[in-house]
Subunit: 380 residues, 2 copies
């Protein structure tokens, strides 16, 4: 069965198309996203640090291509499925930031490395048995499989727990002829969302010091970590200091969301990044006394980080509450919006919100300029 045309596809290029959309619709403000992409690329260039944006935020080949065109050295992926989509979409340098452990994942990884540019797919490892499994599976590859030691960085979602484990893993990887030791990953997800900038800054500085110590200890053992990768949107400016890291994995800067906008606005300067991601809903019921109902609920917005905030269409002080799978309860702060009114929201948490949608509606002002698939949605 051919893939049916998206209901909004006929609106691309139609004047005022943004206001005629079938709702709920995930929107990218293209000029705002473009500025975000350029600003982060310029920041990394000015600091002499590589930018390897994390695609778990957007899961889009088109956006990854734009990031690379602006100066990114490649991308980061959390799942192997994301990496498959990126390699097959023409992205030439891909780091997989989670270990590939099961036989199925390792087999897919090796197949992916086969069809990618030589050395173009890198993976992290945090376990000696896993290093041995990777080496065995990489036996048939023309080029050694590049591997980074994963360090837990205090968060310990994945990664070695301490310097001794890092050094043991480095030795194991370096000792396998079918693997190539490329460096160290130290990603601290727990630091990204610390709202108080001083506290975030102190925690990031402590991590950089630890990482620098581990890199120095490795060097003394004869291991050269060419790549030291980590940092997210919340610490990108901090982690670019003092050359502890060679690469930034920031992802959310491309879109921003309600939570990150708050985190980055608490510095001495306003956030350099703009909200570029919105969800447009329509008012579908107006009979209740205290609220109107919009057509976006928990299958449209991530529920793990607060509620959507009104961006436009009604008084921004109006409050949203979840109201089931497909509906939201909007408590108007001003005049009650009429049936059919379009209300656009800032998303509560961009990554898992994007993951709930099949496509992006790319808008410039009132125009719908493109529809892009969320290519890696659901790809494990």
């Amino acid at each position: 069965m051919p893939r049916p045309l998206h209901p909004n596809a006929p609106l691309v290029g139609v004047p005022g198309g943004r206001h005629l959309l079938d709702t709920p619709a995930l929107l990218i403000d293209l000029p705002a996203m473009t500025r975000n992409i350029e600003r982060m690329a310029a920041f990394a260039k000015a600091r002499g640090i590589g930018l390897r944006p994390h695609v778990k935020t957007h899961k889009s080949v088109e956006i990854a291509r734009r990031q690379v065109a602006a100066g990114a050295i490649g991308v980061s992926c959390v799942t192997l499925g994301e990496a498959e989509v990126m390699v097959d979409g023409g992205i030439r340098s891909v780091l997989i930031t989670s270990p590939a452990v099961t036989p199925s994942k390792i087999a897919r990884l090796v197949k992916l490395a086969e069809r990618a540019a030589p050395g173009g797919v890198m993976v992290v490892a945090d376990n000696l048995a896993n290093v041995a499994d990777l080496a065995r599976a990489a036996g048939g590859l023309l080029h050694p499989l590049p591997v980074l030691v994963d360090y837990g960085a205090g968060y310990n979602r994945t990664g070695a727990a301490n310097e001794a484990q890092v050094l043991a893993l480095a030795a194991a990887i370096a000792g396998e002829p079918r693997l190539r030791l490329r460096g160290l990953q130290a990603y601290a997800g727990n630091l990204q969302h610390i709202v108080a900038r001083e506290e975030r800054s102190a925690a990031a500085a402590a991590l950089r010091e630890t990482v620098a110590g581990i890199v120095a200890a490795a060097r003394r053992k004869g291991f050269n970590f060419e790549i030291v990768t980590g940092a997210g949107t919340g610490t990108h400016d901090l982690d670019a200091e003092q050359n502890a890291f060679t690469e930034l994995q920031a992802g959310s800067y491309v879109f921003m969301d309600a939570e990150y906008a708050q985190v980055l606005a608490t510095g001495t300067e306003p956030s350099p990044f703009e909200v570029a991601l919105f969800v447009q809903t329509a008012v579908v019921s107006t009979n209740a006394a205290e609220w109107v109902t919009v057509d976006g609920g928990s299958k449209c917005f991530a529920t793990d980080s607060g509620v959507p905030l009104v961006a436009r269409g009604t008084d921004p002080a109006s409050r949203y509450a979840f109201f089931g799978d497909e509906h939201g309860k909007l408590m108007p702060a001003g005049p009650r919006p009429a049936l059919g009114t379009r209300i656009e929201f800032v998303t509560p948490h961009c990554d898992p919100t994007v993951n709930l949608h099949d496509v992006y509606h790319v808008v410039e002002g009132g125009a719908l300029v493109a529809i892009w698939p969320v290519d890696a949605r659901g790809k494990r």
Copy 2:
């Protein structure tokens, strides 16, 4: 580009395939789901009430077909996109349980009614202007468009606020030659999850009394509500009493989840429905002292209703915590599971969890017997 084969497709029919899956994987226990489908069908038949299962739970044509084959009179859909998938999948009677309000949705509704069996697509309305819009749009249809009055039932997500509004809507629908008044919807989502059975029973009884009063008032005005539809898994047994409803919209019974299992187990009898939906993950990191990390996080489990519960693979008293988009933190209650161990979880809330996955892995014991798409995922 042809649709790539799912990584687990080669495992269908392979002995022990369930234990070789690429993870995370959404699983259906086929015998358990089949018993659930048969039990609800038998219950409805014994009470002489129609069963119109809500597909927002499973979004699957295959499962809808099985429900109809077991005796369901059709299905309920919350989005027009779900209804399109069901009609195009051969389901002959589809009720859309939310109003279609915007010009785009109304145009899609009329196109869908055109290609469905005559009268096979029904929609609800809760607004006089919307009734006029529907009538205008239905002008070209060969058969009148069937419409039910939507009553807010105290929850007021959508629906008329009171009897007077219901009667005004009934009169408006009946007065439009291109529409056909079919009945009343009274769905009270807020009653489904009341844990204390006595409280749930009292609230359901009060709603049935109100509904019966509205139906009687409509009859005195000359409006015959052939269909009175409502109820969910949490009140299906209560709402089948006393002939207030002619149809049940229960959905979650097909899979059950951690929350519903608790709700239905508080009666005097054990729940008649079994948990049939699981997510299988693998342990991907074991370096932390207090936990191991599994490969299922907030892009794999809905986060709006508690956490996943361990079903098998390790001590069921082990506790899960969310650990980012793709990872979970599992605090072992017994021996620490080794790297690569498969852990299966009961999902915290089935509907939005299913919506995060592309496919179902259908298992019988240790065998993977089929892979079914989540057909209507992301369909608005």
